[in-house]
Symmetry: C2
Subunit: 191 residues, 2 copies
Amino acid sequence: MSTSASGRPQRVDARHNRGRILDVAEEVFGKGGRSASTEEVARLAEVGIATVFRHFPTKAALVEAVLVRRFDRLREHAEGLLGSADAGAAFFDFFSHLVADAATKIAIGEALHDLTGDTDGDAATASLGLRRAFGALLRRAQEAGAVRDDAELPEVYALLVATSRAASQPHVDAEVRARMLAIVFDGLAPR
Amino acid sequence: MSTSASGRPQRVDARHNRGRILDVAEEVFGKGGRSASTEEVARLAEVGIATVFRHFPTKAALVEAVLVRRFDRLREHAEGLLGSADAGAAFFDFFSHLVADAATKIAIGEALHDLTGDTDGDAATASLGLRRAFGALLRRAQEAGAVRDDAELPEVYALLVATSRAASQPHVDAEVRARMLAIVFDGLAPR
């Protein structure tokens, strides 16, 4: 294997560059920079534009990769909570975490939607994985008696998405978000 | 006053045309036809394009007028319910009505956002009027003991907007919408 100027194997450099590009792209598109260019991402990541295009042939591919990584991390977070002793706390904490984190994810999703109209790419698959992991957390919380039995995943997931979107609105600050979630969580409590 | 070919006074015709154009525009933009043109609205309303431009100099002015009329109607509906004997039913029925109605309103709002980036035009003022009327319904329901005392307008309105947006998603059908609202309404019930 040849080595680069830094003395690291090229393959390690490539992996490092890919991660660095994704970090920068997540930051740029997460801040609502829908119109940001791939050139700008390359500049901020301090790599050449050719390097970006080698990893991500189009801007859509780049934005999708950012979104997939984000969904995958959230799914892993949810799966990690499946083993926790307090299934109710695991469910409600994860719900709150996701809603607090939503503003960024929604901005990236909108950037992707602008580019592709999305719906069935890798990001949709990753989003489905997250939904499944969330469903498993819900079932465990119901089995533990922390969430009402008659709540099903479609409406609970709809509420998760709904409150996430609401939380990304500029006039919904952390306090309003917490009080909004308190109402939803009371509604999810066993009758 | 001169009369038109139909024998009606021209001012009555003008009012009639304005309403007709708004009806058609509401239908077209409410179905998510963000890219629909003013020409298309004129054709469907069976009026000349000059007539449309006389009433609405720009497409943005037309879309905004549609949205203002919609917000005003919802506000009038809410104000009409302020006199009803069952303040709890009035609040929850209006909440459900608005969420069921949301898909159309959101599509129109997005069409306006595309054109103007909105935020402080007539539509925003009309939207504020609706929020105030909804706040009055909430207070009455709280005074009647049908809604918990500690819920404040910012979070309840955030939930109204959130569930409205969720209800406009294609995978959220009427049944899921009803179950989603049942959870929120239980959360809003007095402790």
